[in-house]
Amino acid sequence: MAELDTGGGGGHGKHQKKRAKKSSTRVDMTPMVDLACLLLTFFMLTTQFSKPKTMEMSVPKDVKDTAKQTKIDDDLAITILLDKNDKNKVYYYTGKFVLESTQLIETDLSDKGLRKFLATRNKAVIEKLNELRKKVARKEMTPEQYDDAQVKVQIAQKDAPFVILKTTGESTYNMVVDAIDELRIADIGKYALVDVSNAEKIVLFRKMGKPIPPEVLNDGVAPAPPAN
């Protein structure tokens, strides 16, 4: 065990001179320990952070035939529109898009914004999943079983919302990932990532107070916006 000793420098030991030879058999291990410590820290840090975290994503196949496209119940559809802006603002509407009447609702990617709205719409699923999470916490269920059960709950819930995340090319990747993350937090199982149509762009840009590019306006999809 730890052997303590008054230092030779102090010269306290009475028998110092007599037994000095015995001490020479010891090897000073300090540099070795230093090195081992350094290596240990190095390897610990490099291994810990070398595996990045990821988010799983699925994208729908491009289906040209409109009859084969997935039909979404209008009552369950929530469309979130993303465009580049500094304040993490996002816009959404529910149901079917009608150029003349659809009103975009402004919110943001904070926990009080979009997350709150999605949580109220997806209440049934969240409650069921919370029960399951409690089971995991009580060790009655393994995390793997939970993953399977989560998907089942999300599919089985017939009135769970279907979120369509529409992004303009200008939105930053940060915003898109944040938005997908909000969907995950709100336990939304059904979502798709698609482009914003020109008609939606008109409404979105008007709401944001951004100039509408002429190629969007002249697309033919939509009549010119009313002057106001």
Binding site: M1, A2, E3, L4, D5, T6, G7, G8, H12, G13, K14, Q16, R19, A20, K22, S23, R26, M29, T30, M32, V33, A36, L39, L40, F43, M44, T47, F49, S50, K51, P52, K53, T54, M55, E56, M57, S58, V59, P60, K61, D62, L82, K84, D111, T167, T168, G169, E170, S171, T172, Y173, N174, M175, V176, V177, D178, I180, D181, R184, D195
Partner: protein, 221 residues
């Protein structure tokens, strides 16, 4: 505080602590970490990934497409053998041949972000000398169609094939080998315009890749 008094009878002159058990432990840990460490190769670009609450770890055997803020695309695939074979395949397709040394250098590299024509010269350089080239490189050329200009599509395609061949060979050698399907991941900088990411996703879709991972860094809810 009681003072530690050295017993008078102790004969040695130094004040030493017996560090042997500590050193034993340290070396044990060092050995453990050395053996388990998988080194992070130096990447040509630093990418600041967006944060998410997801805690899934990037799976092994992954094909990773990195996109930086300027929209430059970099390609990498796990596995030394798969990587060098992919290079040979892509080179062959574009009529570019590489020397053994260049191929060996490529095997050591993490990701590639150059048009195939410029890759040979790049691989001849010492790793340190590649840095300035990384800064000005244009990334792997991409295109919306499946044309010759779309080099990324060929990298993906050949990478897929070589990864599959590698797995088959492993299974042939050892029937108990667990097949690991190739996974796909996109690692983009948070400030990248989404359209750049979308272009890569579109190429993925053309290659029938519909499931992939987005690399993020973890944050609390």
């Amino acid at each position: 505080m009681p003072k530690i008094k050295a017993p008078r009878s102790t004969p040695s002159i130094d004040m030493t602590i017996d560090m042997t058990p500590m050193v034993d432990l340290f070396f044990l840990l060092v050995t453990f970490f050395m053996l388990t460490a998988t080194f992070r190769n130096e990447e040509p670009v630093t990418v600041d990934t967006p944060k998410s609450t997801s805690d899934k770890i990037l799976p092994d055997n992954t094909m990773l497409i990195t996109i930086d803020t300027a929209g430059r695309v970099f390609y990498s695939i796990d596995g030394y053998e798969v990587r060098i074979k992919t290079l040979k395949d892509v080179g062959e397709h574009y009529g570019v041949s590489f020397s053994d040394k260049q191929i060996a250098n490529f095997g050591k590299m993490k990701s590639v972000g150059l048009p195939i024509g410029q890759l040979g010269g790049y691989l001849d350089l010492m790793p340190a000398a590649r840095k300035p080239l990384d800064a000005v490189s244009k990334g792997i050329p991409i295109d919306t169609g499946l044309t010759e200009k779309n080099e990324l599509a060929y990298w993906i395609n050949f990478g897929q094939r070589e990864a599959a061949v590698f797995q088959e060979n492993k299974v042939a050698e050892d029937p108990n080998f667990m097949r690991q399907p190739l996974r796909y991941a996109i690692k983009a900088d948070g400030e990248t315009a989404y359209k750049k990411v979308k272009d890569v996703i579109a190429i993925f879709k053309k290659q029938n890749i519909y499931h992939f991972n987005l690399v993020t860094s973890q944050e609390a809810r």
